[in-house]
């Protein structure tokens, strides 16, 4: 009896050991189509990139993975419409395989605020993908102020002559040297789940002063400085609950304005899709995609009406460049 019990225990232990062995569960490589298309309100599609994924050991580039000869169609509908209607079929650049465009005359007026858009791409060898989004409205009630004085700096409607001056002084940290604050109505953004982003575009007369940045910066660098991250980091955990909040203003510091000269500030309102995507760019392990059956992004933004100019001086050079 005792022997039988021991055998039983050993058999049970052996069965448990075997059943608990770890096994790798590899998904393996599975080809997918990728689609990337960024477009702006009132504009047409300049470049839509259609490619496929690649396996390990394969060359991963537009040249080698671009999908040529696909049928790529743009659809649109208004908020009231039930079904999409065809806008037109995109064309492929003749010497740039995998890149498609839509001519202005085929899409007069471009993407319209508040309209829904869908892009479908189909290829006999690579399958069928589609992506949808909505063209977001512009940002409202934008006010740009001198960070230090709170004084409004410019009239926001296009006025090339309007400019103001902010002075750079070297501080201990980023917070010490904020120059500009730019506020806008964030309520609509909260409701839509959209995001705002801004970028600074140095004008041609803008110059780099080596003493303005680090002492060892010797090269003149023109950079369109994208600082969308300033907006995407605001997901917080309080206790066991998550909630998200959105800042109503953007602070622009000397880190962004390291060019001495005239700057143009462009504010964009981006769709919900772009917000989800950027969240994963700065945090997630897997990129967000709104491309069904594939990977990539079809995103629309609205930025054309927001524009302003600043003149930034290093304090020590104030007399030299009044």
């Amino acid at each position: 009896m005792e022997k039988a019990f021991k055998i039983l225990v050993i058999c049970a232990a052996a069965a448990w050991l075997i059943s608990s062995c770890e096994s790798s569960d590899s998904a393996g490589y599975k080809e997918k189509m990728t689609l990337f298309c960024y477009a702006k309100a009132d504009s047409t599609i300049d470049s839509l990139f259609l490619m496929r994924t690649g396996d390990v050991n394969e060359s991963i580039s537009l040249n080698s993975l671009g999908i040529s000869g696909a049928a790529v169609v743009l659809f649109e509908k208004s908020a009231e419409d039930y079904a999409y209607s065809v806008v037109d079929t995109l064309h492929e650049y003749s010497e740039r395989p995998g890149i498609y465009y839509l001519a202005e005359n085929e899409f007069p007026g471009g993407f319209k605020t508040g309209y829904f858009y869908k892009i479908e791409a189909e290829h006999s060898d690579h399958g069928h993908v589609y992506a949808e989004t909505v063209c977001p409205p512009e940002l409202d009630d934008i006010l740009v102020r001198n960070y230090k004085t709170g004084q409004e700096m410019v009239a926001m409607q296009v006025d090339p002559a309007a400019s103001d001056t902010v002075y750079y002084r070297r501080g201990k940290g980023f917070d010490d040297v904020k120059l500009i604050t730019c506020s806008f109505d964030s309520l609509s953004i909260i409701l839509d789940g959209r995001i705002a982003s801004y970028r600074l575009v140095p004008d041609d007369i803008c110059r780099t002063d080596t003493s303005f940045w680090l002492e060892d910066t010797t090269e003149t660098v023109w950079e369109d400085y994208p600082t969308e991250t300033q907006i995407f980091k605001d997901r917080e955990k309080y206790g066991s609950d998550f909630f998200e909040y959105y800042i109503r203003s953007i602070s622009i510091n000397w880190y962004a304005l390291y060019h001495s000269g005239i700057h143009t500030l462009v504010l964009s309102s981006c769709d919900k899709v772009f917000r989800s995507y950027m969240e994963t760019v700065y945090g997630g392990e897997e990129r967000y995609s709104n491309v069904v059956n594939g990977l990539g992004l079809f995103s629309l933004s609205n930025s054309s009406s927001v524009r302003s100019r600043y003149r930034v001086y290093v304090k020590s050079l104030e007399n030299k460049y009044p």
């Binding site: 490589y29 991963i60 991250t229 998550f242 990977l295």
Partner: protein, 751 residues
């Protein structure tokens, strides 16, 4: 009021259990060095009276009727001590027991007991998940370049190593920061050299090390998992002696001897690869590390000892090509006073300071400084109320200071510093009945004002119950709740943690909590003329509020001046469970242990946005077979073998790639990730062997030649896969291997 009531009840309890008759108390020490010997059975022959020595070698036997008796003392590795004594009435006799070492235990020694009183140490010591390592065992086993305590601990069941390059310890499903590492009762942070390749402690300067894998007693606190209690040698009070050792990588020296009515110990170690690196040119970094350990004690009569101990060590890395200098290291200081207030009250007072610093200068303008220091004041009292009842109480106050300072040029990126306090009281009670049944309840209460209101006061109950079965077997169940309010940055996608940064929990998150339980069966049996110890343990842990670095924290954030933990970290919880089976033979020509461990760790990120939120932790190694065996051919020749065969670690595979096009038209190659930690590296196998030869000289000195071959089968174990992007835009999967076959030699001269 509650405290007063508790004290009153304790006094009544002491009175009830107070035994009348003579008392024998004293210390058990090594005859050659006068150093304390712990866990020694001291008993009165022919009676049921006995005691086990504590960590300082102290014992008390009370309630002995007047008469003539034989006192015996037994410990592993020592000859039996026998002394006849005569006791009268209520006499309080003090004894200094000197145990003589068995030089080499070539012959099989029986530790099977003949009577109940001889296994007092077995009865009173509840050792669920406890493992002890002696330095001399480490010295002759197969080593990685040089003997290392942490690497020897990695060969124990229930302890997981994630890499050949790391001496980090993952114990019973806990993370590497769940271990409380104490060196002479001083908490030590990041005790490693060369980014974790070696641990900091000089093996020849150590006396004892004890790893409590889970359910540790209330005396310890502040960590969720395990305790590694390392004790340095006291210092030889009898005579001057020393040891000089040299390996391929570092040289070390230990000197010890008497001074006044006490002893001292000085130990130093330094690596010496830097001259070779320097000769190779500026394209190679310059690196060295050093350690210094010291201890000085004085006895003021038989009842007082004052001890000063210190450790200092650092790593220094310099890379001229990128203008980088980096250093990190520890320094610790402790002043301890042990006093025997009465034979039944043994007290220990400690004032200690422990500091870890890390500094880096790079690229001419980047600067990083990190510091954690810990000032601790602690008192413990052991009340030997009767032979079957011991109460250990204590109080501890700790002040922590942490600093993170990061700057680029004149721009501060991070500027966080602060100090906080933890005050604790604790009590462990050990009560046994008829040498059969032992109960050990414990409670630790901590006050941490920085935490939120729910956790400002934390109560950590612990309980162990042991039942002695016939034939030297026992069954023990232990459990408790544990809190941790200091933690290190953990990133699940980082398989090799090379440097730990410690952070304090604040009121924005909850402290780490671990509820654990373990069931243990232990049996010592005589088979074929040798004594074998068999252990089977089952454990379960539920860990909450494990903090993980938020990967959403952008590098373009403003300067971090106020470190709100909730802002930069996200919580997670984990279940860990497993079974450990071990057979061990401590004596004889052939000794060592063979073990099998099954252990799982499943972790869940507390983020509702996570889809794939439950996964195997990156240190989850379910099946692990380990064998560590030594064979003594004769007094001169010995051989060692260490085998580890385990399941491969989990990792997240890249299942493919695509080109991402950004808004500005730029491109980037993006990996398509598989399920988190769903894949596993191939099974890990490593066999290390050692051959030792000892020359004995007439003047009593000896020279040990230790030759080791690491990974003797030259198996390519995989540290990680590297997906390397080539110039032709191909992404190639390369293997980053662990250590290949690696011979090493070490000479150790003892005089």
């Amino acid at each position: 009021m509650i405290i007063l009531k508790t004290i009153f009840l304790l006094l009544i309890a002491f009175y009830v259990f107070e035994l009348h008759g003579a008392t024998v108390s004293g210390h058990v020490r090594d005859a050659a060095t006068n150093e304390a010997v712990s866990d020694v059975n001291v008993f009165v022959e022919g009676t049921r009276l006995g005691s086990a020595t504590n960590i300082n070698g102290y014992f008390v036997i009370s309630g002995i009727k007047a008469g003539n008796y034989t006192i015996k003392a037994e410990a592993v590795g020592y000859k039996q001590f026998i002394e006849e004594i005569t006791l009268t009435g209520e006499q309080q006799k003090k004894m200094e027991i000197k145990l003589v070492q068995d030089v080499i235990e070539l012959e099989s020694i029986s530790v099977s007991v003949e009577s109940e009183e001889e296994h007092k140490e077995e009865v009173m010591n509840i050792r669920t998940g406890q493992m002890k390592l002696k330095p001399r065992e480490i010295k002759t086993s197969a080593t990685f370049i040089q003997p290392d305590l942490f690497r020897s601990i990695q060969t124990l069941p229930g302890v997981v190593s994630v890499s050949d390059y790391s001496s980090g310890l993952y114990v019973r499903g806990g993370n590497s920061d769940h271990n409380l590492i104490l060196y002479d009762e001083i908490p030590v942070y990041n005790p490693s050299h060369l980014f974790g390749v070696f641990s900091t402690f000089i093996t020849d300067a150590l006396r004892d090390s004890k790893l409590i894998k889970s359910a540790y007693p209330a005396e310890y606190g502040g960590r969720l998992g395990s305790v590694l209690d390392i004790r340095s040698r006291d210092g030889n009070k009898e005579q001057f002696e020393g040891n000089i050792s040299a390996s391929l990588f570092a040289g070390e020296c230990v000197l010890t001897g008497p001074v006044f009515d006490g002893g001292y110990l000085i130990a130093a170690r330094r690596s010496y690869v830097d001259p070779i690196l320097k000769m190779l040119g500026d394209e190679y970094p310059s690196y060295y590390f050093w350690d210094g350990q010291g201890q000085l004690y004085q006895d003021f009569g038989p009842d007082d000892r004052l001890i000063f101990s210190t450790y200092a060590g650092s790593d220094n890395l310099s890379f001229r090509q990128v203008d980088m200098d980096m250093y990190w290291g520890n320094d610790t200081y402790a002043l301890r006073w042990r006093h025997v207030f009465s034979p039944k009250l043994y007290s220990n007072f400690k004032l200690s300071f422990s500091r870890f610093t890390l500094g880096m200068d790079a690229f001419g303008s980047f600067r990083y400084d990190n510091e954690i220091n810990d000032i601790s004041l602690k008192n413990t009292n052991e009340w030997f109320i009767s032979n079957d009842l011991v109460l250990k109480t204590g109080i501890e106050s700790q002040r922590f200071y942490l600093k993170f300072d990061e700057s680029f040029g004149e721009t501060k990126l991070m500027d966080v510093s602060g100090s906080y306090y933890i005050h604790s009281i604790f009590a462990d009670l050990i009560r046994s009945w008829d040498s059969k049944f032992t109960l050990k309840p414990g409670l630790r209460i901590e006050y941490n004002p920085i935490l939120n209101d729910t956790y400002k006061f934390s109560f950590s109950p612990r309980l162990s119950v042991k039942y002695m079965l016939p034939d030297m077997s026992s069954l023990t169940i232990s459990g408790g709740r544990y809190y941790q309010s200091l933690f290190t940055v953990q990133q699940e996608n980082q398989s090799l943690q090379i440097m730990d940064n410690w952070f304090p929990v604040d009121d924005t998150v909850d402290p780490g909590i671990c509820d654990n339980a373990a069931l243990s069966y232990e049996s010592t049996r005589r088979i074929g003329g040798g004594d074998y110890k068999f252990t089977a343990e089952i454990y379960y842990k539920y860990m909450q509020n494990l903090q993980n670095w938020k990967e959403t924290t952008s590098a373009t954030d403003d300067v971090i001046e106020d470190m709100e933990i909730g802002k930069y970290f996200i919580g997670s919880h984990a279940h860990a469970y497993g079974i450990e089976l071990m057979a061990e033979r401590q004596f004889g020509r052939l000794n060592g242990n063979v073990s099998y461990t099954y252990g799982k760790v499943r972790k869940t990120i507390d983020d509702p946005l996570e889809d794939d939120d439950t996964f195997d932790a990156h240190w989850d190694i379910p099946h692990s077979f380990k064998s560590s065996v030594n064979f003594h051919l004769n007094k001169k020749w010995s051989f060692g073998s260490v085998i580890t065969y385990s399941t491969g670690r989990p990792y997240t595979e890249n299942t493919g790639y695509y080109t991402e096009i950004y808004e500005d038209g730029s491109e980037e190659i993006i990996a398509i990730k598989g399920k988190r930690n769903r894949m596993r590296y191939p099974d890990y196998f490593r066999w290390d062997i050692s051959v030792n030869y000892t020359w004995f000289y007439k003047n009593g000195s000896k020279l040990l030649l230790n030759t080791s071959v690491l990974n003797v089968t030259d198996r390519e174990n995989i540290q990680s896969y590297i997906y390397d992007q080539r110039e032709d835009d191909r992404v190639v999967k390369d293997v980053f291997p662990m250590l290949p076959i690696l011979p090493s030699v070490r000479l150790s001269y003892t005089f």
